[in-house]
């Protein structure tokens, strides 16, 4: 072996602490080291060329860099090896900056000693490196977008327009997400459904986009380029190919079969047969088995029978002009499983707002204490009051409305983060109230108004000018008075005194959080959740739409609170990132995966039970003489090495982190030849 050791000064970041001369002399004395050089900046073009030339001239057949952490410049140094025609994996980095010169700068002598050990450790591992090559896979050029809100729709359209096949999976019967519930959106106060409806129609009719609504992700296998996804489509009892969305079935469904309407945030009712919203895309009826009262004692999922000599049809079946409803199909709670081959996944599952019931101090039992999303429905022309501002309790016009901000956000008891959009949407709602009914008194209780962003501060100033009372200070509680009025026990921080306001309607800006089922989804996908409870991006600044797993991207409010424009920006970024990865025909991955030796494998299967990715399976011999051995799937193995360390026969190896390589590193730290125990 001819190892080249290249020691970096990193300006003086390393050389101030580590005695470079001593380190070089030490490296020269190591077995198998043919060349030792130093450079002021090993990450410079000149140093790169120096390394490349050493390899080309045959002086060096493996490279040890003593510099900063491999996270920094590993790729850069690999490229020098590649340019010289050597396997780029014949490289080992001794981290003598982040893990030596910087944290040990006050003990220079010992830092030099540690640097020597780190270099020796790297050299001894380098001796055992193998000229690996990248593993390449063919790539499935289709994308799964999970979540059909504005983020998912945007990403799907972008990818569809770029020519990729897209599957858009939405758990509700209709796409559109939360945005369809809004009346108007800031800062232009333009109609929300006018923004989203054309996009919903486009996504439904796009030739490359397949909409799978009323469906959830069952499980995900495989990895980037080749995911195998199983989607569970819930049973509706309505043949969507025949349903024309006329709504006839919804009008005959008896009113005793009703539940609070999800689209109206519980402010109205819907029946068991329903079309989720007036904007619904696809506009199809859905049967809710939990609500159905089984008209005429015809239980859904049971066989047809004759009544009065005729085949009995339930009212909904009878009403349907196209015969799309068949309540006699066997009820299958599992629904239908659709299997998809997917190259990359975008998760855009959005958010939920906290329930008002959590906040006992804000009189949640009063029907006139509502969340901002409920108020959004009251403001909307498609809502329960058809856009008239009325109290839910008696459908009368309120004389005064209070908005309370930071309910559950910026509060150590619930969420420490700021939900970001509440200030602006409260200003918007207050403004819409003033525009519709100027005589209603509007109070906003805020800790402070946060309106950064284009045109948003101006929006705030304009709103103030409409005569809205903005009171800076947190609200301690709400009392329900005998006449049903609500007394706000607030505080005015500007004048430093408690204030009390009596109003008829209270709107709570409850915190945005990750939906409960999104956590389950994250677990199925294997992506992480951050400390504030949202999906975690790979890097807070550089890789904001990538998850920690290759080929899985995140966009929109499931990554953190965002307004519509930011969600769209992130969805477009995610779509572009996916497209960039899939542009080539092949995907290249590092060859650091497990390898099972057929000779040594005893077929015990311990590794199979421990593999986090089900990448291992028992292969039965073709005849009785052939023994059972474990096979590893190249595509699903992620190279964690759990199987390697668990194999009782030592039959599994892990390229790049093999037993002998790690043993050599251990031995090098002690200056002895490693012996396996």
């Amino acid at each position: 072996m001819k190892a080249g050791v290249y020691v970096c000064h990193c300006g003086n970041n390393i050389s101030d602490t580590v005695d470079i001369g001593e380190l070089i002399d030490f490296a020269r004395g190591l077995e198998g080291v043919s060349v030792v050089r130093d450079h002021l900046f090993m990450c410079s073009e000149m140093a790169w060329e120096m390394i490349r030339r050493d390899i080309v001239n045959g002086l060096v057949d493996r490279v040890v860099i003593a510099a900063c952490t491999p996270k920094n410049h590993e790729k850069f140094f690999r490229s020098a090896l590649e340019a010289a025609g050597l396997s780029k994996y014949m490289l080992e980095i001794a981290n003598i900056r982040e893990q030596c010169s910087w944290p040990h700068k006050s003990e220079k002598k010992y830092a030099t000693e540690k640097a020597k050990l780190l270099v020796r450790s790297a050299v001894s591992k380098a001796a055992l490196l193998e000229p690996l090559e990248d593993i390449t896979f063919s790539i499935e050029k289709s994308v799964l977008v999970i979540g059909g809100g504005i983020g998912g729709i945007t990403a799907s359209l972008d990818l569809g327009n770029m020519g990729y096949r897209v599957y858009l999976v939405e758990k509700e019967p209709s796409v559109g997400g939360k945005l369809t519930k809004f009346d108007k959106i800031f800062p232009l106060n333009d109609c929300a459904s006018c923004v989203v409806s054309p996009m919903m129609a486009e996504v439904a009719t796009h030739p490359l986009i397949e909409l799978i609504t009323y469906a959830e992700i069952e499980d995900v296998e495989g990895s980037f380029g080749n995911f195998r996804v199983r989607v569970r489509k819930k049973q509706t009892y309505v043949d969507w190919d025949k349903c024309i969305g006329c709504g006839a079935c919804t009008t005959v469904c008896p009113s005793k079969a009703r539940v609070p309407d999800e689209f109206n945030e519980g402010l109205g009712w819907r029946t068991a047969m329903y079309i989720p919203s007036p904007h619904a895309v696809p506009r199809k009826a859905v049967h809710d088995p939990n609500v159905c009262v089984n008209c005429g004692k015809k239980t859904f999922g049971t066989k047809r029978f004759l009544r009065n000599g005729k085949e009995y049809l339930t009212p909904c079946e009878k009403a349907c002009p196209t015969g799309a409803i068949n309540r006699s199909i066997r009820w299958d709670p599992e629904g239908e499983i659709i299997e998809l081959d997917i190259g990359a996944i975008i998760v855009a599952v959005g958010y939920q707002v906290m329930d008002k019931e959590v906040f006992k101090e804000y009189a949640p039992h009063s029907p006139n204490v509502i969340t901002a999303l409920q108020f959004e429905r009251i403001l909307s022309p498609t809502g329960p009051t058809e856009g008239r501002i009325l109290k839910p309790s008696d459908m009368q016009k309120p004389n005064a409305i209070s908005f309370i901000s930071c309910v559950g956000s910026r509060d150590a008891r619930y969420h420490t983060y700021c939900s970001k959009v509440c200030c602006l949407y409260m200003l918007k709602q207050a403004r819409l109230v003033k525009e519709k009914n100027p005589e209603i008194n509007v109070y906003i209780h805020m800790i402070d108004v946060r309106a950064p962003g284009k045109d948003l501060e101006e929006y705030y100033v304009q709103t103030r000018q409409l005569g809205i009372n903005i009171i800076r200070g947190k609200v301690g509680g709400i009392e329900v008075l005998p006449d049903g009025k609500l007394r706000i026990l607030g505080f005015d921080a500007d004048i430093g005194t408690p204030v009390e306001v009596e109003v008829d309607l209270v709107v709570l800006a409850t915190a945005i959080e990750l939906p409960e089922d999104a956590r389950k989804l994250a677990r199925k996908l294997g992506i992480n959740i951050d400390s504030s409870g949202f999906l975690k991006e790979d890097h807070p600044k550089l890789r904001t739409v990538e998850s920690s797993l290759d080929g899985i991207f995140i966009a929109g409010c499931c990554q953190g609170p965002k307004d519509v424009s930011e969600t769209i920006a992130q969805a477009k970024a995610a779509a572009t990132a996916v497209a960039a990865l899939m542009a080539g025909d092949k995907v290249r991955v590092e060859p650091y995966i497990a390898e099972v030796s057929n000779e040594l494998c005893g077929g015990c299967g311990i590794c199979i039970s421990l593999c986090p990715y089900n990448a291992l399976e028992m292969a039965e011999g073709s005849d009785e003489t052939e023994k059972r051995v474990v096979k590893r799937d190249v595509r699903t193995c992620k190279g964690c090495g759990i199987c390697v360390s668990s194999c009782p026969s030592g039959a599994i190896s892990l390229s790049g982190y093999d037993d002998d390589q790690i043993s050599a590193q251990i031995g090098a730290m002690l200056g002895v030849m490693a012996v396996r125990v």
Partner: protein, 141 residues
């Protein structure tokens, strides 16, 4: 060199969390004892019991295995396996005449440089208190 005992400590650090927390500690110029030397592994679950025994048999004074925070393992549950393994090893170490306290498992998040540094200092102190490994023979430099 003074006669004061300087322990030799090896830490197996997972590349996603523990190794990165040490990198971050360096970047932030937090100091911790230079007796601590890390070996990078893909996952703490990669750390074979044999590596730990090997290191101790060769005369290392202290060994630790550091992985991702509980329930946040990059490989789903490798850290849990590592934790169980170290716990079992700690049980059998006294049979070889080695104090259990010479082996530790620690959860460190990639963003928690403070925890890494505190752990490093504390473990170094603990090993100093225990003194040189009973297995330390002439093999040591």
């Amino acid at each position: 060199m003074s006669d004061e005992f300087r322990p030799n400590i090896i830490g197996f650090a997972c590349q996603w969390c523990a190794y990165q927390s040490a990198d971050l500690a360096g970047t932030l110029k937090y100091e911790y004892p230079s007796t601590i030397k890390l070996i990078r592994v893909p996952c703490s679950g990669r750390v074979d019991s044999a590596f730990v025994l090997e290191a101790l048999a060769l005369g290392v004074d202290g060994v630790f295995v550091a992985g991702c925070p509980e329930a946040e393992c990059h490989y789903r549950f490798g850290n849990r396996i590592a934790k169980i393994r170290t716990a079992m090893l700690r049980n059998i170490l006294p049979e070889f005449g080695i104090e259990s306290a010479r082996l530790r498992f620690e959860h460190v998040s990639s963003s928690d440089a403070v925890k890494f540094v505190e752990f490093a200092k504390e473990f170094d102190k603990q090993i100093r208190k225990l003194g040189p490994t009973p297995l330390r023979g002439d093999k040591h430099e």
